[in-house]
């Protein structure tokens, strides 16, 4: 058996590295019985098409950014809700609460989650230090989804839609002046070329997820199924460690390249958390029962 697996990110991203290792593990455990070929960097399907490609069995397995599904059900997007889970411990707890719910939601589409790995927590990139939420007032702020747009508005900043590829140019030309993203993305886009300050506000810890088509999976023999699930468990554990190491390394790399890395002030954290709380109210008002169930399980 050979599987083709589309993934959205490039080979040097730790997510892709982890998945390459996952494929090797499966190959080894099945003595080459199941051979997974990784097609990275969206070379097979654009990111937005990967889920439906797995669903209609164009490919048996694929990876995507979990909260892109939040328009389907807010349960998918809770990991991108600001200041709900801000540390790896909380993120792990959130994934525990999320997993049964989204397993059920994905099952309706014939998909089965295998494992999910977080990106490093999201920090704030600006020119100059941000001491309080008021400092964000009037700043042109990069927003790429509804939650960030709301966040920017609540912080008094002006949300601007910038596609990921346009980030450097948008900063260089003053189209935006602030963004929230992970330290990895900051390093990969050489953020020091266009911003001076970074603070790990750890706004949220979003995740990628690897899903497999249920019918294809069911068609495997029991040993191979076990090998895949086993490798998935290993990959999840390894991925979380890689992510934590990445967070430390990349934050250090930002500093090495001349970005001033500073701890967020008490005042800033308090202000941001207040915004987070307001946003969670809106979220609750729109959330489905399944999404509320996730939050409830997480908070208790």
């Amino acid at each position: 058996e050979s599987w083709d697996m589309p993934t959205p990110y490039g080979d040097s991203t730790f997510h892709t590295q982890n998945i390459i290792q996952f494929a090797d593990d499966v190959r080894a455990a099945t003595d080459g019985g199941l051979d997974i070929t990784i097609h990275s960097a969206g070379s097979l399907f654009p990111h937005s098409e990967i889920k439906s490609a797995v669903r209609n069995r164009s490919v048996p397995i694929g990876e995507f950014f979990l909260s892109t599904l939040s328009n389907e059900d807010l349960a998918f997007g809770i990991d991108s809700q600001p200041f709900v889970a801000t540390s790896y411990e909380d993120a792990a707890k959130l994934w525990e609460a999320q997993r049964p719910v989204i397993t059920e939601l994905l099952a309706e589409q014939g998909l089965m989650p295998l494992f999910s790995v977080p990106w490093p927590a999201q920090g704030l990139y600006t020119n100059g230090e941000i001491a309080t939420v008021e400092d964000l007032n009037g700043l042109r702020f990069r927003a790429y989804n509804a939650a960030l747009e709301e966040f920017a508005a609540l912080a008094g900043a002006a949300p601007v839609q910038i596609e990921a590829s346009d980030i450097p140019q948008a900063f260089a030309t003053g189209q935006v002046a602030a963004m929230i993203t992970s330290p990895s993305t900051g390093v990969n886009s050489t953020a020091w070329d266009f911003v001076t300050h970074y603070t790990p506000i750890n706004a949220w810890v979003p995740k990628n997820i690897v899903v497999v088509n249920q019918r294809v999976f069911d068609g495997l023999d029991a040993d191979t199924q076990a090998a895949v699930l086993d490798a998935a468990m290993t990959a999840q554990a390894r991925g979380w460690e890689m992510s934590a190491a990445e967070a430390t390394d990349m934050t250090a790399a930002l500093a090495e390249n001349g970005i001033t890395v500073y701890e967020p002030s008490e005042e800033l954290v308090t202000g941001l958390r207040a915004i987070g709380a307001t946003m969670l109210e809106t979220w609750n008002a729109n959330a489905s029962d399944s999404a509320k169930a996730v939050l409830e399980a997480y908070e208790n």
Binding site: S52, R55, L69, N71, N145, A146, E149, A158, Q161, E163
Partner: protein, 174 residues
């Protein structure tokens, strides 16, 4: 029938042109908002939500709706250097071959495009941006456009059979 179909292609082509203008208007509006954001921050909303998504869907609509119109006005390109060396009587057979093979492929694509629409409808797929858009809507425009292209190719084959003379090959022009 002939006139009705030609009319249909042209109307869809005009709609496609309209969509391109709509993209232009939408993006220009966003640029104006960007300008206002610079001069008078806060006076106007700073973004048109999901304008990149909407532009993309309008682009898809423009592309697919214009397919048949473009085909009938000879806009889709092909290499005719080789077959233009043959007598017209032989060219007819080449054209018949090209049309038949295209009917097969385009029919195949249209069929699966339709099944893609049904799948999106079945699962209630929505776009991932700030404003959720039901994907079956732009996708059905795409499926319709490909289906209409299929009709236009069949129509062209009918022309070929009726006239028994090349209908695709046009001499080089400058």
């Amino acid at each position: 029938m002939n006139r009705f179909l030609q009319r249909l292609y042209d109307i869809c082509g005009a709609l496609a042109g309209g969509l391109i203008l709509c993209i232009c208007v939408l993006i220009s509006a966003q640029i104006i908002l960007n300008g206002f954001g610079r001069i008078l921050p806060g006076a106007l909303p700073s973004t048109i939500p999901s304008y990149a998504d909407f532009s993309g869907y309008m682009l898809a609509g423009a592309t697919f709706l214009a397919l048949a119109h473009t085909l009938r006005s000879g806009g889709h390109i092909r290499v005719n250097l080789v077959i233009s060396r043959f007598r017209p009587a032989v060219q007819v057979w080449f054209e018949a071959f090209a049309l038949l093979i295209s009917i097969g492929l385009i029919g195949y694509a249209a069929w699966f495009m339709a099944s893609l629409v049904l799948e999106s409808l079945h699962y209630g797929d929505v776009s991932t941006g700030i404003i959720p858009v039901s994907l079956w809507i732009p996708q059905s425009v795409a499926a319709f456009g490909i289906a209409l292209l299929w009709v236009a190719v069949v129509h062209t084959l009918a022309d070929l059979i009726r006239t028994r003379a090349p209908v695709l090959s046009t001499p080089d022009e400058v």
